[in-house]
Structures are given as C-alpha cells and as structure tokens.
C-alpha cells in the first residue's frame, strides 16, 4: 500500500483521528494523529491485515521551540519550494512504523498538548519494542509516556538532571565533583 491508501484506510476506520495528512511532495509523508486516538490507531495499524505494521522502528521526541526554517533563495522564474508544515506544539512524538509482510512504511506524528509537561499514552501494550524506545525518549526529551510499566532513565545516569535533547537544555558544568568546563 502506498501512503495515500494507508491514510485513506485510517481515516475510514478512525474518523476524526487524523489531524493532518502531509503527502507528496514531502520527502517523508506523514500522518498527524490526535493524542487521544493514538493507541486506537496504533492498534489498528498493528492488527489490520492490510496495514500490518508489525514493527515499531523508532520513537523520536521533537522539540520545536527554536524552529525558524530558512528557505533557500529561489532563482527568478523558479517555483518556490513548499515550506514544511509549521509545528503545532512545542513537543511532538514521531513514530516510524514498518510492515514486514506488506513491505511499506509509515510515519505517525503526535503533538503533545502540554508544553510544560509533555505526555503521550504508551504503546508498550501493542509493541513491546516501545518499552526501551519510550524510555529513551523520556530520558533524552522528557516526554512522559503514561501507562509505561517502567519509565526511568535508560541512557543517562539515574541521577542526571534535565533532558539533554530539549532545546533549552543547559549543559551541566559539574558532575559529581568533576568539572565539565
């Protein structure tokens, strides 16, 4: 299935779940799903025989707070390049899915409503792979996955302060008495 067929299918099965549908000419087409319907949509994606996304490839946390895209200058006469969709919220989670049996991929984006305490429902019930991927996202981006069985830091030390991939992260000058200047 190509992107349009997948998107149609999801819109048909989960009305109102798809908030935005960014197809061609974007290099990686994606669907923006509402946070509330994420788990349901994912369950469909996983279980539906035609969609059959068995693999959760990656979970990416995005922090759009310093996003100021700079479009390249266009020569006279050329069509200006299409600008990417502007962010809808500060934090966002991007899921990359892969279907082994159907041989197609899908990118799902979900915005986090709360800028102060970003949160998403966990997908561990559908994809056990999400366990570590979500822990990583929590660790580095500070996105809370509600319902996760064991949400603690995975890559940083247990007593680490802050979430390094946030754009407003301040590098520590000292760690356990070791200067990092």
């Amino acid at each position: 299935m190509n992107f349009d067929e997948i998107a149609d299918r999801i819109e048909e099965l989960h009305q109102g779940a798809v908030q935005a549908r960014v197809g061609e000419p974007a290099k990686d087409p994606y669907l923006r799903i509402s946070s509330e319907s994420l788990v349901e949509v994912m369950r469909t994606l996983h279980a539906d025989r035609d969609l059959a996304f068995e693999l959760l490839i990656s979970v990416t946390g995005m922090d759009w707070s310093t996003w100021t895209p700079k479009m390249p200058r266009v020569k006279k006469g050329d069509e200006p390049l299409p600008e990417p969709e502007s962010p809808v919220s500060r934090y966002e989670v991007v899921y990359h899915l892969l279907s082994v049996s159907q041989n197609h991929r899908l990118v799902i984006k979900v915005a986090c409503a709360d800028d102060e305490r970003p949160a998403q429902p966990t997908l561990t019930g559908i994809y056990p792979a999400a366990d570590w991927l979500e822990r990583e996202t929590w660790d580095l981006m500070g996105i809370d996955f509600q319902g996760h069985p064991d949400l603690r830091r995975i890559l940083c030390a247990e007593d680490w302060v802050g979430h390094p991939l946030r754009k407003d992260y301040e590098f520590p000058t000292e760690y356990h008495g070791i200067s990092a200047e």
Partner: protein, 393 residues
Amino acid sequence: MSQLQEMEKRLADGQREYVLDVKTQDMEINMGPQHPATHGVLRVVLTADGEVLTSATPYVGYIHRCAEKIGESVDYKMFLPYTDRYDYLAAMNNNVGYCLAVEKAGGIEVPPRATWLRMIICELNRIGSHLIAFGTYGLDLGAFTPFLYGFREREWVMSLFEKLCGARLTYSYAYPGGVINDAPEGWLDELLRFCDVFDKKYQEYDALLTRNKIFIERTRNVGIVTKDQALRYGWTGPSLRASGVRFDVRESQPYLFYDQISFDVPIGRGEMGTTGDCWDRYYVRMLEMLQCTRMLRQCVERIQADTTPGEFLTKLKNYRITPGEAYVGIDNPRGELGHYVVADGKDVAYRIKIRGPSFCNLSILPEILPGAMLADAVAIIGSMDIVLGEVDR
C-alpha cells in the same frame, strides 16, 4: 512473603516447570559492565537459581555520548566522524546511512560511481563485522581459535579500507554527495582476489565452528526467539531473518543500487533445532558473508563497466539542507540503522535521530533470558551480535 509462599506463587503462575524439593535462595548476579562476554559495557543483573536464570534486567548507557545532541551542534559534514563511532564495527554502513539521509533531505545527487563504491564498502564492512560476530561468538562459547581465524581475513578487509581511505576502524569515507576518494589503482582487483580467498577460507570457519558438535549442542534450541517475538520487540536485520522472517531492506525496499544486482536473503530454517535459536542467528550471519562476496563481485563488474573513474563526489558550495525531514533506514550488519534528519535550512541539522538496531534487539533480554542457564545467557547475548557503542550512542 516467605520464601516458600513466594515459590508457591511462582509455581502457580507457571513460572517454573519443576518443583524444588530443597529450599534454595536465588542469587543475584551482576553481569557487567565489565564482563568478558557482554561485548562492551552492557550490564545485566541476573537472578539465578543455581545455574538457571530466573530474571534478567539489562542496564545500558555506560558509554552514552548523546550523539543526537552532537548532531544538533555541529554541521552536517562535521557530524560524519561521529557516525563512525556508534557502531564502530560497521562504520562504513553508518557513514552511508547518514549520508543517504542527508542526501534525501537535501535532494543531493550522487554520481553512480560513488553509489557503487558505497555498496562495495557496505558489503565489505558487513563481512568485517560478521567476522567479528563469528569470532567473538566462538570466544563466548569457549573456542578461541575461530576468533583468530576470523581476524586473519578481517585484517585484509581492514587493509583494503586503509588503502581506500587511510583509516582502519573509523573511516568517514562516504560523504554527503558521494565518497571522499576514488578507489586507488588495482584496489578493485585486490578486492576480487579477496573475494576468492574468502570463499575458500569460509570453509575453514564452517569446519571449525559451524559443524562442531559441541558448538551445535551449545546453540541449538537455546534462546529461541519466535517470529512473533522478534517482530514485537522490533528486531531487524540478520537476527530477525534468523527467526524466519524474510525481510531485508536491501531486497524489499532497495536503496543504492541493490535492485540492480542479484543476491539471496538467508533466513533461519531451524536446521539444527528450532527456527530462531542461537545457531540460526549465527548461521544466517555466516551465509550472509557468502552473499556479500557474491554481491561484491557483481559490484566490481558493474563499476568497471558502467562508470568513469574520477566521478565520485558531487561538490557542493554549502551543505544547507532545505527545510524538511527525511528518514532513511538501511540494512546494517546488525539490523535496520535509521537516520531521521530534520533540517531547517541551516548548516546544522535541527534534529538528528539515530535508530540503532542493537538497541532494539537488546530490549528482548528480560523476556528470553529467564529459564536459560547462565552459560546460555552468554550464548544468547553473543548470538544477538550487539555493539554497545550503538546501543548507547
């Protein structure tokens, strides 16, 4: 809760197949971060009832450098050397994966010669990486000599790379827009010679380890990962294929010129025991090496026939990538290595996400280790062929 009650509860949960008539206490063992068989700084806290494991909790992150944050701080070219360093056994594949993602995001054209060269280095590095997997797996199971045999051929792979780019471990050879060097004179011929010699030497590996009775007894029906389990835990690459799933990004969603050459995708068939056991995972890697030489020969043929020497890099004035995002997943020796690049039109990436295959493959440990023996834990971890540099990034 008393020990006895706990035991009864466990039995009620079906956790134990047998009833212990002697009251014993489980021992908690800390395997790693410094342990010979964890292939780096992996730490697994094991609970063992005698030699049988009852639970396992992996802890990772000991060499975490936050490559993704570095990717947001240095420009696209400068990040290239960092890609060498997460999966240090397959640095070429990392370079290529990263470059493909940047090129996709920026719409950069790559000359065909560079693409063929990239395929060559990817497959050659796959041999190098699988040779380590083969050798260290032998080490894990107590056979020392295969390691040295593997290193004999790996040494040649290294020196081939050295002739190509001057480095032996961290190559930074692929570059956004092509590769940094053309193949020096005679290099392709040496590569063909290597392929011929390698196919012969491969028989020695088979004789020494693959068909060894003790080796088979140690690996068959051990650490069985079913197709379903493998998919649920996001397994990719040879490990997934060993569980009987025929999926190879190179075959199914070809990148570079993989659609122009022919190769087989070996999958686990449970030849010695059950599909998805340690032996299958090991053997899939072994068979892949043979496919690599087959691909290398075709690549050399095509590069000599179709391309002009000297056209190996598209020079660009700057590397300001048009705002947008691109994800490229390639088949690294360990599984799908994904780079997700978000560009905002500046020299520096807005966000780079690296999807490491070992990271996902490793997360299955708490599920498959309980019930195995302590020695099996070593066999299982070894059979997954993880590189901790890439788990921790």
